[in-house]
């Protein structure tokens, strides 16, 4: 329809520019979304290779492959790169690609800022990764960079780390502003808030979380910078400061951050499960309110990361109960996903497999989170592999499987080709088995007392650690296979129709596949 209207010979109907400068200068949401996704995938492989170093060292007890100092840099960089380089940019990439298509907008509201927020990321991560080659090595204080490890006792490269965090923060905040401005200003006529797909809703709430907490992260690294170079004493007891203050400020950012990494996955799965159940999403309104409730609660639970620093009993009780309260809206969501599948006419294509695994395994991660929320029990679990098992269960089959599910679900729209379903299913099963082999034994070694972030361990943990390492290598190698599947899909394959999934719903399926460079220049009619 719009093609007919566009045929006036105007210069508007142009395609992408040619050559490299297309990507440097682009303001097109699809180009920028693609760049975000590729960047995130590169970082996923880099952060994954750091994880392989960690698992190789932990394959057997004793020190065999890397020095403990380098091991510390690997745990730190693995965390930083996966959180800030892989998961967050992947979701921003999905937001860039899909939000305008889902709400019938021609592009993001602030396209030039969109370009800038992407191009800050390569600069930030070049700065961060380059520290590994500096004398004294890269950041070695864990991704949580607790003071005074990250101030008084930090390697000289910590200043580069601080500026890298600043750049990532600016990029995320600009991305979030862009998402909010797009959703609130560019919806097609008739697309009321309560008609928006849940991916759009969860991203709207995520964007507000980002704007609320990324500046606090910027503040805490600025305080570190001032302590290190300008003689202040925010975190130094010698000058009247307090290292525990660091943990409060950090986790005020850090806890909402973990929801920033999962809410968009909730949204994507809430589109995918109905599509392959051939039923509308059960309890749409309750999903929206549950997301809002989770976002609100995320601000008042931060000290559950700090049960052992010596907060008063009243504080422990408050943060314990507030944390357990999060299980209520999360339970509503899981209930709704299961109810959507109930009596549905289910098929199990790759996006659905990843989505179902997401629901089951994320719930397991949620339950171990509830165990950790019990303050007296946490005294036992704190800083053990049980914690590592918990947050990998919510991040790998949570955030990462959510991203894989989204990628397979929308790849036909992005590339115009169907991906190879057999290979994709193989990718799923190898990922599923590898991931569970890698992380499930960590629960046991953690409960038995194996501490995290240590390159060596007691002999009794040897067998479980070997299983973990084998699973991790399997999961890691499988992701190179995913790269192959995506490239194969881009280069060819069965042509995808505009709506390749018969149960799918949403405006993105009304445009042809691959989505034209410009879409919805005339707003669609939303009934």
């Amino acid at each position: 329809m719009s093609a007919v209207i566009d045929d006036h010979g105007h210069a508007h109907a142009h395609g992408p520019a040619k050559g490299l400068m297309r990507w440097v200068l682009t303001t097109n949401h699809k180009d920028i979304g693609t760049m975000y996704l590729w960047f995130a995938f590169c970082m996923f492989l880099l952060g994954g290779s750091f994880a392989m170093v960690i698992r190789a060292e932990l394959f057997q007890p004793g020190l065999q492959i890397v020095e403990p100092a380098f091991f510390n840099q690997m745990t730190t960089m693995h965390g930083l790169i996966m959180v800030f380089g892989a998961v967050m940019p992947a979701f921003v990439g999905l937001a860039n690609w899909m939000i305008p298509l889902m709400i019938g907008a021609p592009d993001m509201a602030l396209p030039r800022m969109n370009n800038f927020s992407f191009w800050l990321l390569p600069a930030a991560f070049l700065l961060l990764v380059s520290t590994l080659f500096s004398p004294g090595g890269g950041p070695n204080f864990g991704w949580t960079f607790y003071a005074p490890l990250s101030t008084t006792y930090a390697p000289a490269s910590v200043t580069f780390f601080i500026f890298a965090i600043h750049l990532m923060g600016i990029s995320s905040i600009m991305g979030a502003i862009n998402v909010i401005a797009t959703i609130l200003n560019l919806r097609a006529p008739g697309m009321t808030l309560m008609k928006m797909p849940l991916f759009v809703w969860t991203w709207l709430i995520t964007a507000f979380l980002l704007i609320a907490v990324m500046p606090v992260l910027a503040g805490v690294v600025t305080m570190m910078l001032m302590d290190i170079h300008f003689g202040t004493s925010f975190f130094s007891a010698a000058g009247g400061g307090d290292p525990v203050l660091f943990q409060h400020v950090f986790w005020f950012f850090g806890h909402p951050e973990v929801y920033i990494m999962i809410l968009p996955a909730f949204g994507a799965v809430s589109s995918i499960i109905p599509a392959f159940s051939r039923k509308p999403l059960f309890g749409y309104t309750s999903m929206v309110y549950a997301t809002g409730a989770i976002a609100f609660l995320s601000f008042i639970v931060w000290a559950h990361h700090m049960f052992v620093v010596g907060i008063p009993v009243v504080g422990e009780l408050f943060f314990m109960y507030a944390t357990m309260l999060i299980a209520v809206p999360t339970g509503v969501k899981v209930f709704n996903w299961v109810s959507t599948m109930w009596e549905g006419s289910l098929t199990f294509e790759a996006p659905m497999l990843f989505a179902i695994a997401f629901v089951i395994l994320f719930t397991i991660g949620g339950f171990s989170g509830l165990m950790l929320a019990i303050a007296p029990a946490d005294f036992q679990y704190h800083d053990t592999y049980f914690v590592v098992a918990h947050f990998h269960y919510v991040l790998v089959p949570g955030a990462i499987f959510g991203i894989f599910a989204s990628a397979y679900y929308w790849l036909p729209k992005w590339t115009g080709h169907m991906y190879d379903e057999t290979l994709a299913k193989l990718h799923f099963w190898l990922s599923f088995i590898g991931m569970n082999l890698a992380f499930f034994p960590m629960h046991f070694v953690g409960l038995a007392g194996m501490p995290r972030r240590i390159p060596d361990y007691n002999l009794q943990f040897a067998d479980f650690n070997m299983v973990s390492s084998v699973g991790a290598f399997m999961f890691g190698a499988t992701q190179v296979f995913f790269l192959f599947i995506v490239i194969k899909c881009i280069r060819g394959g069965e042509p995808a129709p505009a709506k390749p999934w018969d149960g799918a719903d949403g405006l993105e399926w009304t445009v042809p596949s691959p989505a034209p460079y410009h879409t919805f220049q005339t707003p669609p009619d939303v009934k």
Binding site: G219, A238, G239, V309, I311, P312
Partner: protein, 182 residues
């Protein structure tokens, strides 16, 4: 235009949250003092209480040097038994064994942390900085009251001082003035 107004508001929210990050510093201090969080003790106590001879609490003293602080620093007794409400005194001794004048700051902490709000110092060397000439030795008194409302579960508590070298930040220029203030 609606878009400009929205973006301005969002940028403003960003700035407010950045400022909030820094505002957490004084908020944290106030909360710590108000609730005795983290073993932080309050400032100088002005009140007075009546001694409760029926109950005894053991107070232990610890003294630690932070980092590369080179002073000799210790309490004159390891522990004393006190009655809640009574005014007690303990003398700490510090000596500067180096050949340079130095200044120091002691930071107190109470364990268990829940007892911090019930431990009142009427006089403490931690309220001021200490300046010692080479080889100089001082005796520094602490006067304190353990509050009568101290929870019954607390049978003994520990007062720990960590002594920090603050010569770089507060050059020991006017030892006389500091002495006079004390």
């Amino acid at each position: 235009m609606a878009l400009n107004r929205l973006v301005t508001r969002l940028l403003l929210l960003t700035a407010v949250m950045f400022a909030f990050g820094f505002a957490l510093v004084p908020i944290y201090d106030v909360m710590c003092r108000a609730f005795g969080i983290n073993g932080k003790t309050g400032g100088q106590y002005e009140g007075s209480q009546v001694s409760d001879p029926s109950r005894a609490v053991r107070v232990q003293f610890m003294s630690t040097n932070a980092g590369d602080m080179s002073w000799e620093f210790h309490a004159t007794a390891d522990q004393i038994e006190v009655n809640p409400g009574a005014v007690n005194q303990m003398v700490f001794v510090a000596r500067n064994p180096t050949s340079k004048p130095m200044s120091a700051q002691a930071v107190p902490s109470i364990t268990p942390a829940e007892a911090a709000a019930y431990f009142h110092k009427t006089e403490c060397f931690c309220f001021t900085q200490q300046v010692l000439q080479p080889g100089e030795r001082i005796e520094m008194p602490v006067r304190f009251i353990v509050d009568r409302d101290l929870p019954g579960s607390v049978k003994h508590l520990t007062l720990a001082y960590t002594l920090f070298d603050i010569t770089a930040r507060h050059p020991p220029v006017a030892p006389a003035a500091t002495q006079a203030a004390r």
